[in-house]
Every structure is written in structure tokens, then in C-alpha cells.
């Protein structure tokens, strides 16, 4: 195992910059997740670490070793693909032994390591099966065992769970996480699934359009999103566009005046509120920011109700109300009282 650093990685194809100045240090044994919408450069970043894409600029160091110019087969990165990529003409045991075979380890010494790797992923006894005889989840575990058996310096997971169905995904998610902790594997995982990222990561990197938007723990990203993109991408936020009129004063486009501690400076800005910080009905009465909102649309989602409300003709925002016993579902056209504290929102300069 080793620490891993990405030093100002950059990848351009012609005029298009796919990865732009990505600098991340990953500690020994850390589980880092690259998260972002498709096309944000997260997979390209991972493939640069694996050695399949040569960076246009910047470098990659694993442990003390600069691997920037090394081919993939000399990097010792265990790689797990979304599509498993098992060797269909080899048995499970042969698949898992492949990395050891390539390292010229004698057949007699391979067997115990293959058995150990298969035991780790709970597939002991599947040695002689062929990949086509296994379910998707089992195939993905074989792929994981294959990557683990060669004792990689770094484990790279490329959307490893995306091909599994929802229930299985949760199981395998926990398994991978436990295994990673137990073995102390330095790991990078790429995913576009927010829940997956939040449950598995030690730290997350939010990427968009090739750039790192924010690096931090789940709590840091949720409570102190660095910009409007992160605020909208991690968890949900209600956004109100407007401007800062004075310190701690925010006026929406529709002219609604809001007291907000985070409003500093001046000019066009966006106020972001977490839905759970917004009180509804009686609870809102004592709060400094208190408004009559018109219900535009309500969606019943089981544990919560998603409600789209308007504060004025130009200001619409999202509310989430816990679906408690005795709470009536607001109907479109009704007026409800909503409110929040002055320290509830975050304000970002308006993005062009």
C-alpha cells in the first residue's frame, strides 16, 4: 500500500480540456471517491492513474515512485471495471491467478494466494467455475479478488457497482468498504452515484467540467459547499437568485427581502438553503425570515414530501417536509407559512 499523489494533472484533446489541473493527495489507506456528472473528467483522471491515458501535463506518484511515464503493466494498480472485464476463457481461479502468473510467481505459491483472495470476497469453492456461470455480483467479486490477489499499491474502481441491481449494489458496497478498511488499501473510486460516494468515501472529490470543485469529507461538502455547483450536487438545495443589497441583506429577483448572515460583499448572488433548515407552518412563526408561500406542486415520496413553492412571481424554491402522522399533504394553490434562521443559508456569487 502506498500514498498516491496527482500533481496538477491535465489532459487535452485538441482544443478540448478534459481534465484541468487536478491536484489531489491521497493518504496511505484512504478511500477517495471522484464524484461528478458524466463528462466531468473523473474517469479520464482514473485512467491516467492506471496508465491508459498519458497526461498532457502533470505527474502521478505512487509511494516514492513517479509512474507518470510507466506503462500500465508496470504500475501495480489493481483495476476493477464497471463491466467486470473477466477473462471469459479462464476459470475463476485462473482469472485470480493471472496477476501472480504475470509476476512469475511459481504455481505452487499462487494457489494459497488465490484461495485467500477468493475467501476475502466470499467466493471460496468457486475456483473451477467459468465467469459465464456466475451472477453479475459474483463476477464483480471475482474481478475484485483478481485485483487484490496481486497485492496492488493502489486499488482503482471504475464505477464498479453500476451494472448491479439496486439491492445487490448495497451489499457489494458494504463488502468493498469493509475489505478496503481491513486491508488498508489506498483506493480511488469513480462514480456518478451520490449515495454510493457518500457511504463509501473517506474523502470525496467533486469534479465538474474537468476541474476539481471541492475536496472534503461528506460533512464538509454538505455543510460548507464551496460553490453553487457543489451545493446542488451534494444533497439537495433550494436556490433563490437575487442580489446582496447590504451586509446580511439579500433581495430575491422577485423583491423578497431576506436576512442572511452569509451575505457579504455586493452584487448578483444566489442564496442556497438546505431543505431541512426550512421550517413549515407553526414552527416557522418565531423565525426572522418568515414568508407566505404558495404551493405550486407537491410530490409524495414516502418518507418525505417534495413541495415546490413560490415566494413571489419570480421566486420558486423547493421544500421537503417529513411525512409525519397527522401532517396533511399541502395541495397546489394553498398558502403555507415557511421560515428559516438568518444563519441558515449560504450565498454564492452568481455564476455567469
Amino acid at each position: 500500500m502506498a500514498r498516491l499523489s496527482l500533481e496538477h494533472l491535465r489532459k487535452t484533446y485538441g482544443d478540448t480540456t478534459v481534465v484541468d489541473d487536478v491536484a489531489i493527495n491521497i493518504a496511505d489507506g484512504e478511500f477517495l471517491v471522484l464524484l461528478g456528472p458524466s463528462g466531468c473528467g473523473k474517469t479520464t483522471t482514473l485512467r491516467m492513474v492506471a496508465g491508459f491515458i498519458a497526461p498532457t501535463a502533470g505527474g502521478i506518484t505512487i509511494g516514492e515512485r513517479s509512474v507518470t511515464t510507466l506503462p500500465p503493466w508496470k504500475r501495480n494498480c489493481g483495476l476493477v471495471f464497471q463491466s467486470y472485464a473477466l477473462f471469459p476463457h479462464m476459470t475463476v481461479a485462473e482469472n485470480v491467478a493471472f496477476g501472480l502468473e504475470m509476476r512469475k510467481i511459481a504455481p505452487a505459491d499462487r494457489a494459497p494466494r488465490v484461495a485467500e483472495a477468493l475467501r476475502l470476497v466470499q467466493l471460496a469453492g468457486f475456483d473451477e467455475r467459468y465467469p459465464r456461470q456466475l451472477s453479475g455480483g459474483q463476477q464483480q467479486r471475482v474481478a475484485l479478488a483478481r485485483a487484490l490477489a496481486m497485492e496492488p499499491d493502489v486499488l482503482l474502481l471504475d464505477e464498479p457497482l453500476s451494472n448491479l441491481d439496486a439491492k445487490l449494489r448495497q451489499e457489494v458496497r458494504v463488502e468493498i468498504r469493509d475489505l478496503q478498511r481491513k486491508l488498508g488499501l489506498t483506493t480511488i473510486m469513480v462514480t456518478h452515484d451520490q449515495e454510493e460516494a457518500l457511504t463509501m468515501a473517506d474523502r470525496l472529490v467533486v469534479m465538474e467540467k474537468g476541474k476539481v470543485r471541492q475536496i472534503g469529507t461528506q460533512r464538509e461538502l454538505y455543510e460548507k459547499p464551496a460553490d453553487r455547483f457543489v451545493a446542488g450536487f451534494i444533497g439537495r438545495s433550494a436556490f433563490l437568485d437575487g442580489e446582496i443589497t447590504a451586509p446580511s441583506r439579500f433581495r430575491t429577483r422577485g423583491g423578497v427581502e431576506i436576512g442572511c448572515a452569509a451575505a457579504t460583499g455586493s452584487g448578483a448572488a444566489t442564496l442556497a438553503l438546505r431543505p431541512e433548515r426550512i421550517a413549515v407552518g407553526g414552527e416557522a412563526e418565531a423565525l426572522p425570515n418568515r414568508f407566505q408561500a404558495r404551493v405550486e406542486h407537491a410530490s409524495y415520496l414516502g418518507a418525505i414530501l417534495d413541495i415546490d413553492v413560490s415566494l413571489s412571481e419570480h421566486d420558486r424554491m423547493l421544500l421537503q417536509i417529513p411525512n409525519k402522522a397527522g401532517v396533511a399533504e399541502p395541495k397546489p394553490g394553498e398558502t403555507i407559512t415557511i421560515g428559516w434562521a438568518e444563519d441558515a443559508g449560504l450565498v454564492y456569487p452568481r455564476e455567469a
Binding site: A85, F87, H89, S135, G136, A147
Partner: protein, 289 residues
């Protein structure tokens, strides 16, 4: 990956059975019929002046296998076919791989340029080679013109000319067969091998080659059969001095009017092709399964 293919629509109603009838009938009437007749003819007697006399004799086969001249023709044909097939495989695999893996938007153009030679008929192409390879042809004229050689190279009417000609005809078949199979091998599988420490040659040996084997088999069988039965190329580039089985069969039918012996040679050619193909198939399968 693990899901079974959907049954052909209408399989239960017997419609699927109906769909294979036209092709089956065509093959049965158009191929098996003539072969059966040919086989019957090959057992007839040939008496000069009387054309064909009904009989039941193996003397035509005996004649072939006891005459060094005919055995040599068979041996030469097999040798040419084997060499052509191996060269096609060695040259075709890298090309097929590039075609299968390229992300270029000109991919279709590249594939068409591989097929393009097939638009020119064998005879036309061989005629072209004749003008190129002849002692006063383009190749010799150029080489002598720039002073590389004093005497014209003897390429025409040699084994080399025939081999080059057949390779040129067969290469597209090999490339297209391999390309479609390689395209079905996910790129990720190769990348997985690389990430596990396999260099390019180990990856090829342990992953790409075994997975491409069905295509290799199909491609070699196809080119081998075509090379064994080549007609226009050996006639035009090999000439009367360089006999192979295809022209030999034709000669017996059209020039010697010896239908029984022609039929026997045709049958020997067909049997040799099938036996060698099956043998190669079995050897490869045993080795890699």
C-alpha cells in the same frame, strides 16, 4: 452476458423451419446434386475416342495416386494453400486488430478499402499482375531502370507469383473475419490484463489470441479453402508450367474430355481440403481448450 439469446420469433409455430427451406433446397439441388453426379462419373471408365463408358472402377483414383506428376500437383497445391493461409494470418491479424480498435471516424472508409480489391474480379486482377511481373513488366522495368538489377527477375509463372496473387485475393476475407471477432472482444479485457502486469506480448498470448481463436479458425479455413481451389490466379500467373489442382480439373474436363478422371481429381481435391481443414481445427481446439 449470461442471458440466453431470445428464441427466434415464431420458432414455436414452425415458421423458423419454413424460413430455412429455400436456402436448404438451393444447397441440396445446386451443390449436393452435381457432387453426387460427379462422384458417379469418377467411377466410370474413360476410353479415348469413346468419351465415357459406364462402369464401376477405381482406376481413375489409382491413376492419380500412382503417378508422381499428379501427386506433385496435389502436394504443390497444398503447399501453396498453407503458405498463403499463414501469410494471410500473419499480415491480416495486425490489420484486423487496428480496424477493430480504431476510433477513427474514417473507420468505414478503411473497411471499404479492405474490401475494395474484391470489386475487381480474380481474372482481371491476375491479368494486371501479369503486366506488372512480366520480364518486360512494370516491376522489372523499374528495377532495371534504376540499376538495381541487370537481368529481369523471373517472377511470372513461378510459385512466388501464384502465392503473391492468391494472398492478394484472400487477404480481405481473412481481415474481415478476424476484424468482426476482435471487435467482439471488449477492450476492457485487454486493459484488465495490462493492469494485472501483462505486457503486450503476454496479453496477446494469454488473452487476445485465445479469445480471437474462433475468428482465426474461421479466417484460416476460409482462406485455405479458397487457396486450395484457386483457379484464375494459378492459370494466369502460374501458366502451364505451374500446375495446381483447380486448373488440372478444368483441363481434364474441357481439354482432355476425360470426365471420369476429372471427376476423380475434383473429388480428391475436395476430400483433401475437408480433411486438412478438419485436422487443423482439431489440433487447434485440443491445444487451446
Amino acid at each position: 452476458m449470461s442471458t440466453a439469446p431470445e428464441p427466434v420469433a415464431g420458432a414455436r409455430t414452425g415458421l423458423a423451419g419454413l424460413l430455412v427451406v429455400p436456402a436448404t433446397l438451393f444447397v441440396a439441388l445446386g451443390l449436393l446434386g452435381p457432387i453426387a453426379i460427379l462422384f458417379r462419373y469418377s467411377l466410370n471408365q474413360f476410353i479415348p475416342g469413346q468419351f465415357m463408358v459406364d462402369g464401376l472402377t477405381i482406376e481413375n483414383y489409382v491413376k492419380f495416386f500412382t503417378d508422381a506428376y499428379y501427386l506433385n500437383v496435389l502436394l504443390r497445391t497444398v503447399r501453396v494453400a498453407v503458405v498463403c493461409t499463414i501469410v494471410c494470418l500473419i499480415m491480416g491479424f495486425p490489420l484486423a486488430y487496428v480496424l477493430a480498435r480504431t476510433q477513427s471516424r474514417f473507420k468505414n472508409l478503411l473497411i471499404i478499402s479492405v474490401i475494395l480489391p474484391l470489386f475487381v474480379g480474380n481474372a482481371v486482377r491476375a491479368a494486371g499482375w501479369m503486366t506488372a511481373f512480366g520480364s518486360k513488366g512494370a516491376l522489372n522495368a523499374s528495377l532495371m531502370g534504376i540499376g538495381l538489377i541487370d537481368q529481369p527477375l523471373e517472377i511470372m509463372f513461378t510459385e512466388t507469383a501464384v502465392v503473391i496473387g492468391i494472398i492478394a485475393v484472400n487477404l480481405p476475407f481473412m481481415v474481415l473475419t478476424l476484424q468482426s471477432v476482435i471487435e467482439g472482444i471488449p477492450r476492457n479485457v485487454e486493459e484488465a490484463a495490462f493492469s494485472l502486469g501483462a505486457g503486450p506480448s503476454a496479453m496477446f498470448r494469454r488473452v487476445l489470441w485465445p479469445l480471437a481463436l474462433p475468428g482465426v479458425l474461421a479466417g484460416t479455413i476460409l482462406t485455405f479453402i479458397l487457396a486450395m481451389n484457386a483457379y484464375a490466379t494459378p492459370v494466369l500467373l502460374g501458366g502451364p508450367k505451374f500446375q495446381t489442382m483447380g486448373p488440372l480439373v478444368y483441363g481434364q474436363f474441357a481439354q482432355q474430355n476425360n470426365w471420369p478422371f476429372g471427376g476423380a481429381i475434383a473429388f480428391i481435391l475436395m476430400t483433401a481440403t475437408i480433411l486438412l481443414t478438419v485436422a487443423a481445427h482439431l489440433i487447434v481446439q485440443r491445444r487451446y481448450r
